[in-house]
Structure formats: structure tokens, C-alpha cells
């Protein structure tokens, strides 16, 4: 059986469980906890109970992947860009995938589908792949993800990989769930940590939830393959080793036609996405007025950075929505993020978790942005940025 089990003998009626529950799924009556029909089995009460009264009992899930030990190897879906080159996130995943495969004593396999540019397979091998499964088919152009999903699902049913990793790009986030449902297996989105548990051999996938306020470590114990998506910039790409040797295996084209078609291509003026930016200047309400924008643009120019902003600036019409960083905007992962006049609302912080070095400039030393920053300056944003621009102009001259 599955459910919350309460040991009434132990219960002290302290109501900690009631407080921890987000859905009124547990109530304390007559000094004893009772589960209601609103329980979602989230387990919050189990953690909250100080005396170990509450237990979450999980009925044994029927292992659908019979004989788990026959599923072997780590696969990485290597998405291509418009020019046919693998995205940098593919290399980042190969780097991490190599470590996972080594921990399991398995091979690392790169999946390459569509119209890859010459040399792509070799580049993936140099980044750590032992084998490249190559399906050259012009219909696999990342517009109707069900084509790629059919391909990956069929290959996985035949070749039985233990793990499949995908970049959490727009396309990867469309593809991976469609594979998961076809294979009836688990999928963990936007992982920030991927590790093999040395005792169980399971892939431990850690991801943020509740807008980054809660981290959860997730496993997929009885279904295969174990699948995860990872945002670009989370892992670092390995140095290419051109001496590495690997095998390229050609896969037959897919037997279905795309149903979705592009009627208007991406406009050239849309500019580079801040999601991919290596350097980013992020602006908040603390910059005071729209008149400060030229100064901020000058700073961005000097840093060779893109410009992001918080939600209030988009709502005020100072910048367009594609610049919005945060939970309801874009998640970013730059190497350098200079945050100016941003207080650091939790929804905003959720979007900058992938940034490597955060420098914050704000007049309020108590602003939450400083908790997410490595370096900070407290003072008037305009004065500090003006001085900074002057400094940088001097040093570039």
C-alpha cells in the first residue's frame, strides 16, 4: 500500500505537520494527527514531525523495465544549431556524461540527428564520446519534436541505454518529455547536479523547485532509461582531445513526416538571447529612471555584455520582455553577471542561479541580491557605474 501512516501512540499533537502542509492534507484533532482527502503525499509532514509519528509508505512500484542490469551506457542527445554545429550544451553534457559513464564502467554515446555540419561527429568523440549514433535526415530539423522523439524512443527500446541526458534548451524541453512518455520512464528537468550513488548505482538528479527556493534530489529507481535535462552553462565543456578514437554508427532515417512547419523564420533583428550570454548586465528599479539607460548600455558595451533586467522595468516599458531575467522571464547562466539596482526578489534570483560570478551594486546593504553575489558595492548605482565606466574606458584605451 501507499500513503501517509500515522502512529497515533507517538503523536504529541504539536501541529508541526499541520503547519508544514501546503494543502490542508493533515489536521490535528483531539491531539492526534489525521490525514484528510486533500493530502498530496508530498511528504512535508514527515520531515516536519519532531517525534517520528508520520511515515510515508510507498508501495513497491512495479518495475516496468525488466532486468534493470541489461540497460547500459550513457547517452547524450546532441542538439544542433541552425548551422548544423552541436550546441555548446551538448559538449557540456558530454563532459559530465563521461564522468557518469566512467563511474558506471560504461560507454558514452552521443546522439546526432538532422543535418550535422562536417566534423561534428569527430568533435563529439574528441569531447569524450565512445560512439556517435548518427541519423542524417533533413526532416529532423527541430520543428516537430515528435520526429526526434520517435527516433530516440525507438533507439532506446532497441539499445537499452541506462541514462539519457538532454540540454534544457527550448527544443530539448519539448523533446525529452515526448521521449519519456513513449518509454514510460521518469524525467527530471533542469538538473544542476548529476551524480552516481556509489552504493545503489542510481543517477541522483538534483534540481531546484519552488522558484529555486527548494532543492530536490530525485532518482528513478525502477524504470529505464533514467533521463534528465540540464540547462546550458551548468556544467563546463571538457577540453577537446583530438587523439581520442570512437565509432560512428549510422542510423536509418525516421519513418514519419513532420506535421508542424515554420511559416515565418526567426527574425534576424531579434538579437542574441540573454540565456546564452557569457556576460550580462542586469538592471533593476534602483537605476532610478529611464534616463540612466544610456550609461548602462555604455557599461554593457565596454564589458561586451548583453542587457537583462527585472520584471518592473519591463512593466514600466523601459526594456522589452526578452530582456527579463527570472522565473517568469529567462534563466541565465553567464560567466559574469553585473547586477545594478536589483533588490533580488526571489523570483529574480531563481533566474540567475546559473551565473558563475555575480557582482551586485545596490544602495541597500540588506538587499537580498547580495546573498546571491560574490562581490558587492554598496552605494548610489549611478555614481558607481559612472566611475566604473570611466575606469574601463581608461583601461581599454
Amino acid at each position: 500500500m501507499t500513503g501517509i501512516v500515522i502512529d497515533a501512540e507517538k503523536c504529541v499533537g504539536c501541529r508541526q505537520c499541520e503547519r508544514a502542509c501546503a494543502s490542508a492534507g493533515i489536521v490535528v484533532e483531539n491531539r492526534t494527527a489525521r490525514v484528510t482527502e486533500s493530502c498530496t503525499l508530498c511528504g512535508a509532514c514527515v520531515d516536519a514531525c519532531p517525534v517520528g509519528t508520520v511515515e510515508l509508505v510507498r508501495g513497491s512500484a512495479a518495475a516496468r523495465a525488466e532486468d534493470l542490469g541489461t540497460w547500459r551506457n550513457v547517452w547524450v542527445y546532441c542538439q544542433l544549431d541552425a548551422s548544423g554545429a552541436p550546441l555548446s550544451v551538448a559538449f557540456e553534457l558530454l563532459g559530465r556524461g563521461r564522468e557518469l559513464a566512467d563511474a558506471r564502467g560504461e560507454n558514452l554515446v552521443a546522439l546526432l540527428a538532422g543535418t550535422p555540419a562536417p566534423g561534428s561527429a569527430e568533435a563529439l568523440i574528441a569531447a569524450g564520446a565512445d560512439e556517435v549514433l548518427l541519423c542524417e535526415d533533413g526532416r529532423l530539423d527541430r520543428v516537430d519534436a515528435s520526429l526526434e522523439a520517435e527516433l530516440v524512443a525507438h533507439l532506446a527500446q532497441d539499445l537499452r541505454p541506462e541514462i539519457i541526458l538532454y540540454g534544457a534548451t527550448a527544443f530539448g524541453r519539448e523533446l525529452a518529455p515526448q521521449v519519456a512518455v513513449r518509454l514510460e520512464t521518469g524525467l527530471t528537468a533542469d538538473c544542476t547536479v548529476l551524480e552516481i550513488n556509489p552504493e545503489t548505482g542510481l543517477l541522483e538528479q538534483t534540481r531546484p523547485a519552488f522558484g529555486g527556493n527548494l532543492m530536490a534530489t530525485i532518482t528513478c529507481p525502477a524504470h529505464r532509461p533514467q533521463m534528465a535535462t540540464v540547462r546550458p552553462g551548468i556544467f563546463s565543456a571538457p577540453a577537446a582531445d583530438p587523439a581520442r578514437r570512437g565509432q560512428v554508427t549510422r542510423i536509418a532515417p525516421v519513418a514519419r513526416e513532420p506535421r508542424v512547419r515554420i511559416v515565418e523564420k526567426a527574425s534576424a533583428r531579434s538579437g542574441p538571447s540573454i540565456a546564452e550570454a557569457e556576460r550580462l548586465v542586469v538592471l533593476g528599479r534602483g537605476i532610478g529612471s529611464k534616463k540612466s539607460l544610456p550609461l548602462m548600455r555604455r557599461l554593457a558595451e565596454l564589458l561586451d555584455a548583453e542587457i537583462g533586467c527585472t520584471r518592473p522595468l519591463v512593466e514600466a516599458g523601459w526594456l522589452e520582455y526578452p530582456h527579463q531575467v527570472g522565473q517568469t522571464g529567462v534563466a541565465v547562466a553567464p560567466k559574469l553577471l553585473v547586477s545594478i539596482g536589483v533588490s533580488g526578489a526571489i523570483q529574480h534570483l531563481a533566474g540567475i542561479g546559473g551565473a558563475e560570478t555575480v557582482i551586485a551594486i545596490n544602495e541597500d546593504p540588506e538587499a537580498p541580491i547580495f546573498s546571491a553575489a560574490r562581490y558587492g558595492a554598496v552605494g548610489d548605482c549611478i555614481e558607481i557605474v559612472s566611475a566604473l565606466v570611466e575606469q574601463l574606458e581608461k583601461s581599454t584605451r
Partner: protein, 265 residues
């Protein structure tokens, strides 16, 4: 035309606090609301229905949710804003579902409705952030899927044209009906309920169905039917030691310029 909109009830705030004494997660004081992305999806459906009806055609909008009994309030509110029908999938057997088990429950619920021409979901939910339900539903029905839809350009009898995000930037795509769309927040802002709507919603028939009613496979729903398991939860420590520079604006700027130089090289 029949449009189905999938809705999730989410906590009114995603704030999570750690109880400093018990070191447990405190989530109290949070009233459930409609996931903001689903609100945009609902508005898109209602606008589509308005346009179809103005052209003299029948168009119904059914809102579907899997949730606890209290979720009925959110579905009733959707009816007050213009949804024609509501289905609440509520059963203790659904509890503890991950996205795959949720997808199975929703798919069974949608199958129990009149055939859908269009299935809309929010692009993601603000509490889970997985953005998986839409594409998983498309996979379950083997329907075409378009994610991150920011604008409905036009619909015909056979197909729909939408503007959406892609890795190469915003594009416009055409998909045949039926299909699944996941909707971005900027696509539309959910209308306020009308007074007549609120009155009508009081009597709106919110159908409540359990797992058996919709023919859900008991091995594929709820906690025990979920392939993924949460083994550990923790509140991330954000109190990383920030190094604050002091002094005049010029002195601070000089220190920051030094750091920037270091990071850049």
C-alpha cells in the same frame, strides 16, 4: 470546436522558509491560485472561443485539473471567467504523482471528454517549473506540440498558426488540429469574471471524477505509479560570503574593475 485547457492549482507564493528551530520546511499561509501560465492559456482559449462564436460557430472550453477537492474553487472561477465546462480529477489514488503519472491521469480525463480540437497548457507551473506536462500530453496522444506560444495568429478548420519561442528566436509555425500548445505568460492576460459569470459559475457543473471513473491504470497513477522519487529535499544556502567593497564610488569602482578584469581573462 472544443478546446481543453489544463490547469494546475499552485501555492499563492513560492516562498519557502526554513524553521530555524526544527530545520523543517514551513509552507503555511499559502492560498492556492491558478498557475499564472495556465491563466494565460485559459485566456487564449476564451479569446479563440469568442472569435469562433462571433463567426457563428459553436465553441466550448473545458477546464481540466488534477488536484485535491479544494481545487474545485479554481475551476469554478475559470467558469465565472467564461469556461463552459470543468472536470476535476480528484482521488487519493492520484496523490504524489510525478509528471508522467500526472500526464496519465490528465490524458484519461481528456479521453473521457468530447474529442478535443485543441489542448492548451501553461508553458510551466511556477511551483514545479518542469514544463513537462504539455509535451508529455502531446506524446501520450501522439499529437503535434508547440511550446512557448506567445500569440495566436489565426485558426482555420484544419490548422492553427501561432507565434512561439525557439532556440533560434521567435518564429511563427503552423500545426494541424488537433494539437497541443503550451502558452507563455505574455500571450494574454486572463479577463476578470463578469457578474453574470460569477452567478452562473455558482451553479456551474464541475464534474468530479476519480481514477476508476476515467479508466486510469492504477499502476500508472499517484506516488506508486511515478517513476521518479524525491529522495531528499533541502533549502539551498544562499548566505554565500559576499565580499563588499567600501570607500567612495571611485574606490569601489576601481575594486570592481579589478574583479571584472580578473573574471574576463
Amino acid at each position: 470546436m472544443h478546446v481543453v485547457v489544463c490547469i494546475k492549482a499552485v501555492p499563492g507564493s513560492t516562498e519557502v522558509k526554513m524553521d530555524p528551530e526544527t530545520h523543517t520546511i514551513v509552507r503555511d499561509g499559502r492560498e492556492a491560485v491558478i498557475n499564472p501560465f495556465d491563466a494565460s492559456a485559459l485566456e487564449l482559449a476564451l479569446e479563440l472561443a469568442d472569435a469562433r462564436r462571433a463567426a457563428g460557430e459553436d465553441c466550448s472550453v473545458t477546464v481540466v485539473s488534477m488536484g485535491i477537492p479544494a481545487t474545485e474553487r479554481i475551476l469554478r472561477d475559470a467558469c465565472a471567467r467564461g469556461a463552459t465546462d470543468a472536470l476535476l480529477l480528484s482521488d487519493r489514488a492520484f496523490a504524489g504523482a510525478d509528471t508522467l503519472a500526472t500526464c496519465h491521469a490528465l490524458a484519461c480525463g481528456i479521453r473521457a471528454l468530447p474529442a478535443a480540437d485543441l489542448i492548451l497548457c501553461g508553458k510551466m507551473a511556477v511551483d514545479g517549473d518542469t514544463a513537462q506536462i504539455g509535451p508529455e500530453l502531446a506524446g501520450a496522444f501522439d499529437l503535434p506540440c508547440v511550446t512557448d506560444v506567445s500569440e495566436l495568429v489565426g485558426t482555420g478548420d484544419e490548422s492553427i498558426v501561432v507565434r512561439c519561442g525557439s532556440d533560434e528566436g521567435p518564429v511563427a509555425v503552423e500545426a494541424p488540429l488537433p494539437c497541443v500548445l503550451t502558452v507563455a505568460k505574455e500571450a494574454a492576460q486572463l479577463r476578470m469574471p463578469s457578474i453574470a459569470g460569477v452567478r452562473a459559475a455558482e451553479d456551474a457543473p464541475v464534474a468530479v471524477r476519480g481514477a476508476e471513473d476515467v479508466g486510469a491504470d492504477p499502476a500508472r497513477i499517484g506516488l506508486s505509479g511515478s517513476p521518479t522519487q524525491v529522495v531528499h529535499c533541502f533549502v539551498p544556502d544562499r548566505s554565500g560570503a559576499v565580499r563588499l567593497f567600501d570607500g567612495s564610488a571611485e574606490e569601489q569602482a576601481a575594486a570592481l574593475a579589478g574583479i571584472i578584469e580578473e573574471v574576463r581573462s
